[in-house]
Symmetry: C2
């Protein structure tokens, strides 16, 4: 006889409705050839009256979370409420009750991973989070299982669909950030409060999770450099394009030869003929570099009701298979509590840079800028001066009167040196406003 694995879902929002839809469907491809039967026993939400377009059997909906957490019949809890609390308290309570937990909660896993994985280990249960990174892309299990013969050197990618949708829209239509954001909000690609997406915070959570799996690094979110897309102008997108680059919000983690780990999130100039540059709209792409397999790229929808629900269901099935095979925990291989490598200070990193200055076009401005860069050992790879709607390559010091834009691409330079140069630029009377700085990756 088949063993039934009972599931309780907490959080009946968009993704929760997707999970319920898949679990309650007549056609359930994940059940083919299984020696267990997955049953959605309870759905808890504060709001159980709004119609989600899903027919839920009588007695399944509840407003009392303890109908799940204190229910001895339930083996697996799906936490889809998001945020830190009460998600964390519910998760710990589930573990303590011997229940495994599946989540899409990237913020919680990234911030409290050590505590949560430790608690799951102690309880001998599973804590799975495929849906927390890359939506429907099976990237977590690929890093943990499919590529487990590899030592990873790099994992990075476009991990936030909202910002990629906005950047793609700006580049395609030549529209301003604010306009594309407004239309993304209207279409449901951006939330009413888009802060966590556009600030890079969502991508930061995801790269922290990937760095834990790929490098065994338990990183502190607050120590990682994170910059969003709010200050990217269509001007920068167009100049980058002329230079052969496309601007993407990349989340990057690399292991250095000394074993330490580099992690950062920021708008990045990537070569326009790269696969990453071709990832458009709400799609995500993750590239991993393993010593055995070399480059691999995983591409798909990073968000949305059914893609995310697909990932949640695959985790439920894995846990059900584990439970019914007498091996309920999958967290042994997840490193916790700082046994892993150290984070490299952002200032220590070396990168190439794109700089855009708006200057009063008077004799000596270019010389002043070049002098400051030279003072910090930063060498210029190329320079373009743009004025009066035309783009022309100029020699240092050849500028006349009026207002012009100067675009500089540097050779590799140290971030700390670049920051010092930025402070010095701010002191130049001929430079108007902030200098636009973006980092370049030749991926």
């Amino acid at each position: 006889m088949k063993r039934t694995v009972n599931v309780g879902l907490i959080g009946f929002g968009t993704v929760g409705a997707g999970v319920a839809k898949i679990l309650l469907a007549d056609n359930r491809p994940f059940q083919t050839g299984r020696h267990f039967e997955i049953e959605l026993l309870k759905i808890a939400d504060l709001d159980i009256t709004t119609d989600r377009g899903i027919t839920v059997p009588d007695g399944v909906l509840t407003t009392n979370v303890d109908d799940i957490l204190a229910n001895d019949d339930i083996d697996v809890v799906i936490e889809l409420i998001g945020g830190y609390e009460p998600a964390k308290a519910f998760t710990l309570k589930a573990f303590a009750a011997g229940k495994s937990v599946v989540t899409a909660n990237k913020a919680l896993v990234a911030k409290h991973g050590d505590e949560l994985f430790s608690a799951a280990k102690k309880a001998g249960v599973s804590y799975m989070f495929e849906a927390s990174v890359g939506g429907g892309i099976p990237i977590i299990r690929s890093v943990m299982d499919g590529l487990n013969a590899n030592t990873f050197e790099k994992v990075y990618g476009i991990l936030n669909g909202t910002t990629n949708y906005i950047l793609t829209g700006m580049a395609r239509d030549g529209s301003d950030y604010a306009d594309v954001l407004a239309s993304a909000q209207k279409l449901g690609y951006a939330e009413a409060d888009p802060t966590s997406d556009v600030s890079g915070g969502d991508a930061l959570n995801k790269i922290v999770i990937l760095a834990r799996l790929a490098f065994g690094a338990a990183l502190d979110l607050d120590t990682i450099y994170c910059e969003g897309i709010q200050n990217i102008s269509i001007t920068d997108i167009e100049y980058a394009n002329e230079l052969g680059y496309t601007i993407k919000l990349l989340a990057i983690a690399k292991r250095h030869e000394d074993g330490r780990v580099e992690t950062r999130v920021h708008p990045t100039l990537v070569p326009s003929d790269s696969v990453m540059a071709s990832v458009e709209d709400e799609f995500n792409a993750v590239e991993v570099y393993g010593d055995a397999v070399g480059r691999e790229i995983f591409y798909g929808k990073g968000a949305g009701m059914l893609p995310t629900a697909s990932a949640v269901v695959s985790d439920i099935v894995d846990i059900a298979a584990g439970i019914t095979a007498g091996h309920p925990s999958n967290v042994e291989r997840i490193i916790v509590n700082g046994d892993g490598p150290e984070l490299i200070d952002f200032g220590e990193l070396t990168m190439r840079y794109y700089l855009r200055f708006e200057v009063t076009d008077q004799s000596g401005v270019l010389a002043d800028i070049a002098r400051i860069l030279a003072d910090f050992g930063i060498s210029i790879e190329s320079m373009i001066q743009i004025g009066s709607d035309e783009v022309e390559h100029v020699h240092l010091g050849s500028a006349g009167g009026g207002h012009v834009q100067i675009i500089i691409m540097t050779h590799e330079a140290k971030e700390a040196d670049m920051q010092k140069a930025l402070s010095r630029f701010a002191e130049l009377g001929s430079v108007n406003g902030a200098v636009q700085l973006m980092r370049v990756e030749e991926i």
Copy 2:
């Protein structure tokens, strides 16, 4: 105490050496946090004297395959000899002895999948084959596990690195097929006898395996349309390019609404701005379309010593985890013996076509060609006539004397009708040699 899972490797060629290298290394990332220890106990090959650059402990190498197949200490057999026999006999012997088998043998799995999976089911052991498709790309486990909440509508891709390397080289350098093949052979990207690659046979094996997993279809290799790249000329690559297309060898499987399955392998015109068109050199890419996740693309190295070995090792680890958790078989979910959907006859399919004619440029030739197409209900989308090194769009019947090339792109037409039209073209005295026909996919 940790349980040791003992492994025996049959076939110490390139991939076998890669597997031995990973399993015998000091740094074994796949062992982190595991409650078992994988040990490579024996390596069998007829040649155990050639130096593979790997230090193998004393007593591991043997020329007697029964040191593995009849060895009670060995839990898992890795079959890396390729081909049908003796690989199949060894595999069945391993199953009968209660051993699970890991293979990279796409030909064997594609041709004898029903027999082998049935035998594994009967013996209650695992038969795993991640390395058989897409080299180091974890596509098998993604389709079987990571995306198991999905009903698949389509799976297709560039599944052969050798042919993609050749097509990329031809397009980049404007070189002939024979020249690029020769240089690929020199660099190790093509074998001395490249037939199974360039004929499409290797890609056919792989799409048959994917169709079994995605659609539960147990397909007969011999009934599937398969065409290689041997007849692609640089002329076609260039004309396709002018029309906005790139020629790739695609292996395609789709599920139709009536439940039947379409499967085919042939050179295909894909839009030059598609992700598939951007897959270059020896890389592979597989796109799957699932009802929950939508489009997902997996990109990476489809062959080579370490990428393929990476996939083999991930299977060994999965089997070891299963064995030590008391759940030794993974084949329950694999459908065997024609329980699955039926293959649609190739002639029934409808596609768009690229046709290239070399004609004697006399009045009425275009009219004759257009008449034949019209007779079979095939409508022309666009036409180009090329003569004397220039490309010009022409109207029907406007051609003068001499030899010219005519390129026609059709609207959707039925394959059987197109084949009938081809027979009729052969009867036209003004058409020289064979008509070049390629199929188009707007992916």
